[in-house]
Symmetry: D3
């Protein structure tokens, strides 16, 4: 089975970067995957990326070595299993509030006896190889987003759910949940404390930690702080910022 | 009828900027149109933008004041008339080699007796208003691309085709046609001479001149040189450049 | 933030009309929105309108002042949050049976601390303005459908769920649930009693009331009876009736 | 091979009605086809109906006995042959100006030796039957639109092109071409004369005549005048008119 | 209402065959439906068939007498009700573990008072007839998949849920769940015992039994064993096997 | 630039096999490309494969070593240039009747000075490499179909058009054109003579020869006869034949 490069990088002690893909098109996905990112996350939650488009984008990313992951809109086994069948090598689930939420999510990512994922990896086995069924449980990543008050309160229990691979921080939601600003690149002490707590909980439980960032400096700081995967950019904002800058030119 | 802001700007002695849209998605088009560009050109020639996608992108741009234009894949009346019916306020046609080519193109943009465009502006009249049929001939723009050897040789005749509004330079094709490099932002004297000849032919015939650029400096220089519309960026390259830069960060 | 015209009309003591959109196309949506309706409801429940099509239709309606709302297929936070991110100014949820159902639904429509909607209004902030995050909780509408036996029995409790904006009656389901006919424009006393009870519950709780109708006379009667929003037509039936009439002509 | 009901009706001395389909959706096409129309024309010229959508609409109409025809955007053999392969039982081509235009069009509709249509009726043979190849030349309809000045001047020659089945009048374009209004249901004597000339030319050459109308009265008058096929309505206008009427109700 | 041919066949003591459709295209669905299958199952679980594609495929199958059924991705009332509105004559739900799961599923398939399906069969009534609402509860099929350990343990209770029509075995998941191989055409005694138990539970409860197979011999054996519906093939594997065989030819 | 494996195979004295792809889906294309075919031809002429779908299928095939080629619907520079920009490594053009037709076709495949292809290989350069512009003229294949009477009469002149790479025989059209049956695997002496003449013309002019077949035996015979590329199968017929066989099983 094709190895998961993120797991290889982490095993080698390296940090990984990540780009969110929210523009619903195959060509933007393939273009970005060709720039050398370690991983991309196709965003089905806060973007106009539906099921059919996520499929196309997964195929496009498959023409490169970049690891394709998907963020699903909600903790729904139907969609989680579908994107895995499509060949996603990781699934990120938003709004994990409890260990039960997390177990339900992780179970959808793993075949029995580790979970309850249904068998039928029709495209995943083209992308990954014919031994997909045997090795997928140890290859694909289950990534839980911590971004609510209950999620924060239960973070240690969530981190210990068997089969989970990463806690990932959504700083806008987390900030809002804590009565602070809904923004990335948080510096408010209350939010920073929460971030530190999540990072600690992840590493204590032996799982990875990731965080969404919106600037290079903050991204580098997060890597230094210990995050294993750092989202440095998202395609729509890259485009908006570049276009806004140039629109002034004349 | 909704006025064509490009015509208004030019009448007021102003230059217009332009962004090419080659990412086939509604959200990238709407996002860019919100950044304040004078005009956008939805590219059906060198992009995966098909008929149905061009339609969606035109609707998305319609939520702003940015002038929506379309570059068609070829000098084909069927597609030219369709994008006009969809509400394009300008059509750019590639590879105009002769005055006959140009007349065929312009005729497809104009209703009788000025041309042979067929009547049925089903969405254009929603976007522009109920008097579309009466005023469209003087509102929408017919833009001919000059980018081949015969196009250059016939440029003065092309410029004088009645009903044409602009000559637009594709510098990559023009450079290649002249045995020079296929690239934007040309500085090779032979290509620069050709650019100057096209600009002069346009203005002598009383039509506008436009050019595709790939950097801010070159864009500003072209405005200074006299071009009325300057393409400063295209969405795919904005995205690729931004993503390439950040992929290195870690 | 762009105001919600429905809220403005109601504040001014006016009734609003509404058209259901079940034809999955951008042009039918844009055409209808141009006819002067106060609001439209893009129907993802009983129509072939999927996620990608709802998005296109929302963009199309955005070119007018008509208020765009969406009926989701089910009480599922993933889809509710998505259509809000797409720019819907109201979400209607079918089959609300209990106050718990209603709280789950309303929570998905509101950001913390009022609810648990996740942050990422990528298109909504283009449509509504940059202050969307701050003002969306008081702008977008949460509309619960009452159309089952338990829904009717719990209607007073449902109406009092904080953050709810309207009770909306689906008369076909309600009629069937009460052992009467599954049809709009109900006159059966048992169903009329239920309608009156729902209307009273809404107004007593200080929220709006809406109802689906299928004729002009019944619509006007419902407005007179006190309904704040009345669905007068749906696009598919308009089309079918017009086409059926004319098919006989010869 | 499934018979062409239009040919059967005409052979029996009956007139046929017709509805234009310009809303790009399968459900509107299937709904209208169920109302009892003799034929529908899927409009790829003045509507947002692209190739993939025309295909879906043809399948939807195939669930009924209504005869499915398609108007192509232009006299382009590629698209003409494709919609025939998709199962269209008639093709209407706009803007036929000369007998040469007409021969090029008709040739694309007929297999050798009558024409140059390429063999590959992959869906047509599902819809029509396994003997499609043998009988299609005598079954499917080739319909030329007369709507320009040269078209009118050459109408007698056009009508006599072997293999042509019908002349069809586009009154808006015809009116504009003659310096009159661009509208259906023409009563201007100059346009009426032209209509009469086209009708006479068709019948003298032994082919059918058709016309686009926008009201019941005019449609009935045209049938009485001798037209064999009369377009009574188009879906978008049915919808717009119905929606405009009801939007006023409150 | 159009009868359900599967019910008719069973009433006549006949077995039915079935083909799974996982290639997301209208033409493959229509092609296969024309080959004489008793029924097809459009697979939204382990295939790239989304909501819009399932709709198109249902329309395509409607041009034949083959009974169209759909397997939904998960026990989600929203999608179950949608495919029924689209005209599916049967719904298969994966991973039914308990009688409660089954009741939730069956309830979504039946109108009140038998269930809680919402009224709005916009296309189903075109396909089936105007009396759809009255007769659909006794016509469309509710099919529960048994393929997990709890599903097996609870199979007798599941089979007795009122309104259920069939238990259907997913042998890959069932095998994996029982610690055996994840494969069709099971011969392992433990899995065969489970299959026998499910078959017995179905027939004892008076419902039908179905099973997914991957070879002709196994299919015939299952019919002989008593299964009422046997899936003999799926389109993607038919294609892959044929293509693999021929790729070697040279 | 990524080499064209077909050219490499021919240079090594080997024959290549080929599969036609007419099912409009990414997954069928990717599945077939994984079976080890030397090349595939995405068919935009006699299949419901439009521009957007051809794009997706090209991306899907790009995940393998199979050489992706496209048959366009007609000799139209717009679509020829588009599929090349999408990354096709060969273009097949139907119905080449004269050397002029052929020159127009080949010119659209080659950049100046060899032809008039416009510059903008936005995806081709992702697939092929950054030196695409410099090397594409000698890499991508221009394939002319000979399948009409004039095509046969002019075959020697057509074969000598500079830049052409292959003559490809469409036996159904060729048979029909010669007054014989419209079928593959021709054995009629008149058609066989024509096939031999085309093969000889190709090889005499130093270009390759290809032919469409429908059985293994005929394919092998054609390879033995000297054809360089032999189409052994098409996806739709593979599927139909497999499905027809199994539908009988019970």
């Amino acid at each position: 089975m094709r190895a998961n490069r993120l797991r290889e990088m982490w095993a080698a002690g390296r940090k990984a970067n990540n780009c969110f893909l929210g523009i619903p098109s195959s060509i933007s996905a393939e273009t970005i995957a060709h720039q050398g990112w370690d991983s991309v996350t196709i965003d089905m939650q806060h973007a106009a990326v539906d099921d059919a488009m996520a499929y196309q984008m997964l195929v496009a990313v498959s023409t490169t070595d970049t690891v394709p992951t998907v963020r699903v809109p909600w903790n729904d086994p139907g969609v989680i299993m579908r994107v895995l069948d499509y060949g996603a090598y990781g699934v990120m689930c938003p709004t994990i509030d409890t260990a039960e939420d997390c177990a339900r999510f992780v179970g959808a990512v793993r075949y029995a006896p580790a979970g309850y994922r249904s068998v039928g990896p029709f495209r995943a086995s083209l992308y990954a190889g014919r031994d997909y069924l045997a090795k997928s449980n140890e290859t694909v990543l289950a990534i839980a987003q911590i971004e609510t008050k209950p999620g924060l309160e239960n973070v240690e229990a969530i981190a210990q759910v068997p089969g989970l691979d990463m806690l990932y921080i959504g700083p806008s939601d987390l900030g809002l949940a804590l009565g602070r600003g809904a923004m990335p690149d948080q510096t408010d002490p209350i939010v920073v404390d929460a971030i530190d707590r999540i990072l600690a909980a992840a590493h204590k439980a032996g799982v990875r930690a990731g965080i969404y960032c919106a600037s290079v400096d903050y991204s580098l700081a997060m890597m230094k702080k210990g995050f294993d995967l750092v989202t440095v950019a998202n395609d729509r904002q890259l485009l908006a910022q570049g276009a806004a800058l140039l629109a002034k030119m004349k």
